[in-house]
Symmetry: C2
């Protein structure tokens, strides 16, 4: 087998190259009762009506989090929340979680208390059951969740189901988590209120578990994703998998006053951060443009605290994503993040 070119390093191949090669080994079956690699979750059909959604995610200390930046409780929250968000990204209700955790032998009992009590609290608040896991001794903390959700098969919001004519909606704000991370990375003061808010958004990102189920049930939404890799990258997944073009207007992006203030202060580009920094778990979805008012009214009614913004539209085209600012084409400088390609 020659899955990998003998002279091609993982650094050259990159994350998406690696996943593509692995996926190629496991050809999609015809007459299948499951859908594998390629969306936020894998999907297993249970019967004619219901499916199980399943996602898994590995978080490594020093790479995905640092104990000096995030408390044990924050990590307990975030590590599970980002996995629940993957179930939400397809419209499902999270039901069960399994947690594999690698821990140093000298891990502070206070840390264990904080981490696991927050995992338990989050499970409780969304009706998720922790049903299994594994433990290993390791030199740094390793957290691997697998989360299962359920959904009526016909309600699944696939990345591949955006339609020309759809509008693009967003639930939640963008840019805050990414800006919070950048503040931490650049060692800016954590005591300034706007900094504090953004860092909190990084450590405790909002997720939209109930809203996602509502959107899937609404019959108005066609496709969905969470923007954990940034709008640019995640809109690209929808464009590619649906074979459509997405136009996004940067003036409409839901950004907080805190983000604007901090971007002003450090001369960061609000658009670059809002579109590429990732670390947000806002839900981006495409929906029937004729139902915009209905959707808006229903969301306002059921989730008055949750921001809903229309940020663009879907057209026939070349599976690409175009950005506009003040009506003019807008070029992004940042181009996604590939963990294997960076130092």
């Amino acid at each position: 087998m020659n899955l990998f070119d003998r002279n091609e390093t993982l650094k050259e191949l990159g994350e998406f190259g690696l996943i593509e090669r692995i996926a190629g080994l496991f050809e999609p079956d015809t007459d299948k009762d499951f859908t594998g690699i390629g969306d936020d979750c894998a999907v297993i059909k249970n019967d004619a009506s219901y499916s199980t959604l399943i996602t898994t995610d590995m978080l490594l200390e020093g790479r995905h989090f640092r104990r000096e930046w995030s408390s044990a409780k924050d990590l307990g929250y975030k590590s599970l929340a980002v996995n629940l968000s993957d179930i939400s990204a397809m419209g499902g209700k999270p039901r069960y979680a399994l947690l594999s955790i690698g821990l140093p032998s000298d891990t502070d009992p206070n840390w264990l208390d904080g981490f696991f009590s927050e995992v338990a609290r989050l499970c409780e608040s969304y009706g998720v059951k922790l049903i299994g896991g594994d433990t290993a001794k390791s030199s740094s903390i390793i957290i691997n969740y697998t989360v299962l959700g359920s959904i009526e098969h016909q309600n699944i919001l696939w990345r591949s189901a955006a339609k020309p004519g759809d509008k693009i909606g967003l639930l939640g704000k963008v840019g805050e988590g990414g800006a919070g991370l950048r503040l931490l990375e650049e060692s800016h003061s954590k005591e300034v209120p706007s900094h504090k808010d953004l860092i909190k958004s990084h450590n405790r990102p909002s997720i939209y578990v109930k809203e996602a189920v509502f959107l899937a049930d609404s019959g108005i939404v066609h496709s969905m994703i969470d923007v954990s890799d940034g709008i640019q990258s995640d809109a690209g997944h929808i464009a590619k998998q649906s074979g459509v073009s997405l136009s996004i207007h940067t003036n409409t992006l839901p950004v907080s006053k805190q983000l604007i203030d901090v971007c002003d202060k450090f001369s960061w580009s609000v658009e670059e951060i809002a579109l590429t920094a990732g670390e947000d778990y806002a839900l981006m979805f495409t929906f029937d443009c004729e139902k915009e008012d209905t959707l808006k009214a229903k969301l306002q009614d059921s989730f008055p605290e949750t921001d809903f913004t229309v940020i663009g539209k879907v057209t026939e085209g070349d599976a690409d994503v175009r950005f506009f600012k003040n009506g003019e084409p807008f070029e992004l400088h940042q181009h996604g993040f590939d963990q294997f390609k960076t130092a």
Copy 2:
């Protein structure tokens, strides 16, 4: 919350203590449609008839494997095989796998080829589909599988279902994987044929996927476990969870000539290795003593190459495990392995 005593380190608490505390946070529900922590797999009821079995397992380079001891293909085989074995341990048929993998950027493409091609081969040979996963850049290799299996609910072979009067059966040999590991740890020559065989058993342990489904369907078997932690420890799980006493006769243990030769040579105790070294994926089960001949004949008919041995019996008693050698009580010196308690 005071999940952990403030002065109690993870090293003092140990692996089983940690799991017990975590499990305590997630009290079993009444009127439940799932069974969580406490067996080889978690069980989720799909409907009145069928259940999903699910297991997850974290393997760390340097702790669970070393690249200098195991080839990429061996690791591809073993990392998945041990998870399939967890599904087998409850009688299920493995169906789907998810793989989270942490890799250094400079991982040799030959290693990736060997690892993934062997994962694909093993999936193919047991009809398992790799449907998802995650990748992360890490300083050493981290492998986390989640495997899902299916089974008729009434056929599940729980650890808690052993009955007084049952006989104890074993499919496969014991001690080889543990002895192979010890040969590697003590840097004995890999070129001696008996060493080679045992090291191969360590790197490519036999698993009993089809046999397990057969046993679950037979109606003769009551409880089952795989002996990956060693017969002593795993028989203890059955004894404790079933509230019975297990008597095991060491003279009957299925051990290979190679194991006996190597134990002779290095003055190792065959019994200690066969009962405590773990690293074997033989299936240990308790079954209706009146059906022994039927079971033996059916196994011989369907799986003529697989060793089936009766190693003891189940009696009413104090949830303990007793060993006998030449009819006399036999005391073991080794007492299980706890990763957090060892250096």
